[in-house]
Symmetry: C2
DNA sequence: CGCTGAGTTGAGAAGGTTCAAGGTATGTGG
DNA sequence: CCACATACCTTGAACCTTCTCAACTCAGCG
């Protein structure tokens, strides 16, 4: 597989990065919102109301991690998505009658605006409109990966996938050549994201630890000893790498190319 | 549950329909695209290239049914979403390196534009921008329901959910008080959408037939004898009803309210 | 020091999957 | 019009993964 991964252009390659730079840098675009948005600072575990005085709101994540989860009647909850810096969420993304909740998984900051306000600003500022559309597109692509993982991957593949994703978001290299990840999400959160039982998740992670892919670490942190082995376990590793390219600096990127 | 369903406003009710009518009728908005888009007519089973001369494209479904499916290395394919009239899809919604394919499930019509063109038109026409944003929002909500179904529902609940969804899209009432659905998707398609094996799907549908929820019918068609019983089997029935409200006329709506 | 909540682990049960065989509709060519 | 081929669907039996439930560990904390 190593040689396969070397080729940056896969079969059926879709739009190249060439299409995307129409958008100017996200931070420049967003700076214009600073005066319009309320900046919410959250602590771990805090729930955020999805609507604003009963109306539609938008949330733009500035730092930290959030998750959107839903609970359909008579079923356990499902974590629909994780959100990190740059992600955008509208109230109406949450299905009605589904007991949807937006929860902060770590100390975090999110900007909130009335949707109608942001809509108006986007109408006047093409760069902002583009930023929003591209945020949607990226999230749709991540969503597709998530669905494929829940629908078709084995337990181990799912766990490897979510760890790969977190490694790309928050992984920092360690002297020993591994990666240290922040784990803002609890075992239960991750299990609910993956459609697994948390006992099963725990078993799988123990197995990964015993095969040397993961290492021991303090709570709310995880040590990936062998990122390439982890990526090899996840059928979605290359997709995720491509999706995350251009977002953060990415210490993992180089290891897949 | 019948009495529960009577109340139109659930707990934690999110933005009311009041927010949405900012958008003018979809058909009026889209009519302005008629000269810009290529109208593709497809037959059942036809694959549509996701990119347009290597660049990013948008597809707006006008009639018929489509599905987007992805296949990650070493895993079976996953149908990520079904698309019907009014749905919008960008090339970049498909994750890279995932062997993504857009397939027509029936004779259908879809409009295709270069994304940059539609982006320009939307910048000039707020109603179009609003239509696009709301299409995204609806699809995100449906996506959340789909993830919850795959992640947390039992096989029977998943099947009931997809049948409920199809009933809301394409169901026509029969003299006997049931609903006749077009089934543009094969058993395998539906199984891949639900993250089930097609053998299992077949077994579940047989069971539903033997319990009188479904009836016998010709191929590529399904007969729902008792829609309310079906909806009772799906934890997502109320969510779906709410999401679809205001889209088609919906013969099913009245039965849930 | 005992409480609490999160994580781990084992044994048995449940639900899906796999594989293989048979059935049923649709289309094709004689 | 029939015989045949094909694709799709159905069903049964054995198997396997994951879930369930319960016991246990461990860290943080009053």
């Amino acid at each position: 597989m190593a040689s396969d991964v070397k080729s940056p252009t896969g079969p059926r390659s879709r739009a190249d990065a060439l299409d995307e730079p129409t958008c100017t840098a996200a931070d420049a675009v967003l700076s214009t919102l600073a005066t319009q948005a309320s900046r919410l600072r959250t602590r771990r575990g805090q729930n955020i109301a999805l609507t604003l005085e009963g109306g539609e709101a938008v949330f733009i994540v500035r730092s930290g991690a959030f998750m959107l989860h839903v609970t359909m009647p008579d079923t356990p909850r499902q974590v629909v998505a994780f959100f990190f810096r740059g992600d955008v969420l509208r109230s109406s993304f949450a299905p009605p009658h589904a007991n949807a909740t937006l929860t902060s998984a770590s100390a975090a900051e999110v900007w909130r605006l009335r949707w109608t306000v942001l809509e108006g600003l986007a109408a006047a500022d093409p760069a902002l409109a583009c930023f929003l559309q591209d945020a949607m597109a990226t999230q749709m692509a991540r969503h597709a990966v998530h669905v494929a993982a829940i629908g078709q991957f084995s337990g181990e593949q799912r766990v490897a996938t979510v760890l790969t994703e977190l490694a790309m978001r928050t992984g920092m290299p360690t002297p020993a050549g591994g990666l240290m990840l922040d784990m803002p999400f609890s075992r239960k959160d991750i299990a609910d994201y993956l459609g697994l039982n948390s006992d099963t998740l725990s078993r799988i992670m123990s197995r990964l630890r015993s095969t040397g892919v993961l290492g021991h670490s303090e709570r709310s942190r995880a040590l990936v000893r062998d990122f390439q082995a982890l990526a090899r376990l996840s059928p979605a590793a290359r997709s995720l790498a491509e999706i995350h390219r251009g977002r953060r600096g990415g210490h993992c990127q180089s290891k897949l190319d």
